[in-house]
């Protein structure tokens, strides 16, 4: 991928990752399992991007976290909050609208 496309991909990922994370966290997950799940779905996410994103979401009250110290190594589990669900609904509706617009435009182009 050329650097220009890569730059645009990073820009697009920023919004997409927010929706993706808020959608995934309906069930509590820890960071590495999120990375694995996303990767298994055929999508790459930089690990050093995911954690700061989770931190920002938590800071704004959309995600909550707790350390699980029951095993040898402590793990931090993340889950969505009620405010996070509200945000997810809004973001999904924006995303659907954008998707509809794009589909409509692409359909028009295909007829030209």
């Amino acid at each position: 991928m050329d650097p220009e496309t890569s730059h645009f991909e990073t820009e697009m990922n920023r919004g997409f990752l927010h929706i993706l994370v808020l959608a995934m966290l309906e069930k509590d997950m820890y960071g590495y399992s999120m990375v694995r799940t996303i990767r298994d779905l055929g999508y790459e996410v930089e690990e050093n991007t995911l954690y700061p994103l989770l931190r920002r979401l938590e800071k704004n009250g959309w995600v909550k976290s707790k350390w699980d110290v029951s095993e040898d190594r402590p793990r931090k589990f993340y889950g969505i909050t009620a405010a996070g669900r509200g945000l997810r609904t809004e973001l999904l509706s924006i995303w659907k609208k954008q998707d509809q617009i794009l589909k409509h435009i692409l359909e028009e182009i295909s007829h030209v």
């Binding site: 930089e46 050093n48 931190r55 190594r73």
Partner: protein
């Protein structure tokens, strides 16, 4: 304890200095790296950790992802940094020239203090003044940015364009100006060489009567010829190039020449004996008027100099 992991976390910690959640962030990263190493390599060893750390990214880049704070200067104010610095420095520059010429200190509280100095000291003073101006403007813009308030800063224009539009009318005007100024300078030089002055009371050169005493006449004549010559040279340069430096150098040198005019006391300069004796008060007022007129000319030239310096600053910014 894995040495490589701890060293890596220490590096990240260094870049996160001052963040209160630093320890929490480091714990998250440690947990993730260990988890990934075990999942992908079976067990955590220095060699396997090395690979996972390399994939996680350089410490500084990782830390920067957490530092999403406000910029030091908001993007909207970045252009102000250069323009305000150029303006402030232009004042500093003009006052420095004045301090060198008049041998006086100038104070414009709280931003400009220029002590009396020689030309050599001025060369050292000006770079320091520039850094002070840049620092002052940066500090003000930083405080405005951090205040998060909606501040609309003034954007002085001064009718200064980065690139002046070259029109045929302007070129013709400059050519005429150049011819006129060259003729004026040449004629004045001729008179000066012949009579050591260019100021006369009458036009009968067989029995010429100079306005000023020989010493003052020479002094004022050379200054005026210098100003006209500067103007001619500047016009000649402007015909072939459009650099704002031409204006800046011309105005700076003109200021120096005008400053030199103050060095010749005007009250003893007149050689003309009037048929009536002027009252002492009137003579004093004539002196004050002369000084005032010179000062007004100096201010106009200084304003032009500031405009030229601002234009230089803007041109650099545009580049």
């Amino acid at each position: 304890m894995f040495e490589k992991l701890e060293t890596y976390l220490e590096e990240i910690s260094h870049f996160l200095s001052g963040r209160k959640e630093r320890e929490e962030i480091l714990s998250e990263i440690r947990s993730h790296i260990l988890e990934k190493t075990e999942q992908e390599f079976g067990e955590a060893t220095e060699a396997s950790l090395d690979k996972v750390i390399a994939a996680y990214g350089p410490a500084r880049r990782v830390a920067e992802k957490y530092l999403d704070g406000r910029p030091i200067i908001a993007p909207a104010f970045k252009r102000y940094l250069f323009r305000y610095t150029a303006l402030l420095f232009a004042f500093h520059f003009v006052f420095t020239v004045a301090a060198v010429v008049f041998k006086k200190s100038f104070l414009m509280f709280p931003l400009v203090y220029v002590p009396s100095m020689g030309p050599f000291e001025a060369l050292f003073y000006l770079p320091t003044a520039f850094l002070f101006d840049l620092g002052t403007v940066t500090l003000v813009l930083y405080l405005i940015t951090q205040s998060k308030k909606h501040v609309k800063l003034p954007w002085p224009r001064f009718s200064v364009d980065i690139d002046e539009v070259k029109t045929s009318g302007r070129t013709i005007g400059r050519t005429i100006g150049l011819v006129a100024m060259t003729a004026l300078t040449g004629t004045a030089l001729y008179f000066y060489i012949r009579y050591q002055t260019i100021f006369f009371v009458n036009l009968d050169f067989a029995q010429h009567r100079p306005i000023f005493t020989p010493e003052a006449g020479q002094w004022y004549s050379l200054i005026l010829i210098g100003l006209w010559a500067l103007s001619a040279i500047s016009l000649a340069f402007k015909l072939v190039m459009s650099s704002p430096w031409v204006d800046a150098v011309e105005k700076a040198l003109s200021l120096v020449l005008l400053g030199l005019a103050f060095r010749q006391p005007f009250d003893t300069a007149l050689a003309v004996h009037l048929p009536v004796h002027l009252p002492e008060g009137l003579v004093r007022w004539i002196n004050i008027s002369f000084t005032f007129t010179l000062l007004v000319i100096c201010i106009f030239v200084a304003v032009d100099l500031i405009k030229a310096l601002v234009r230089i600053g803007r041109r650099r910014l545009a580049k």
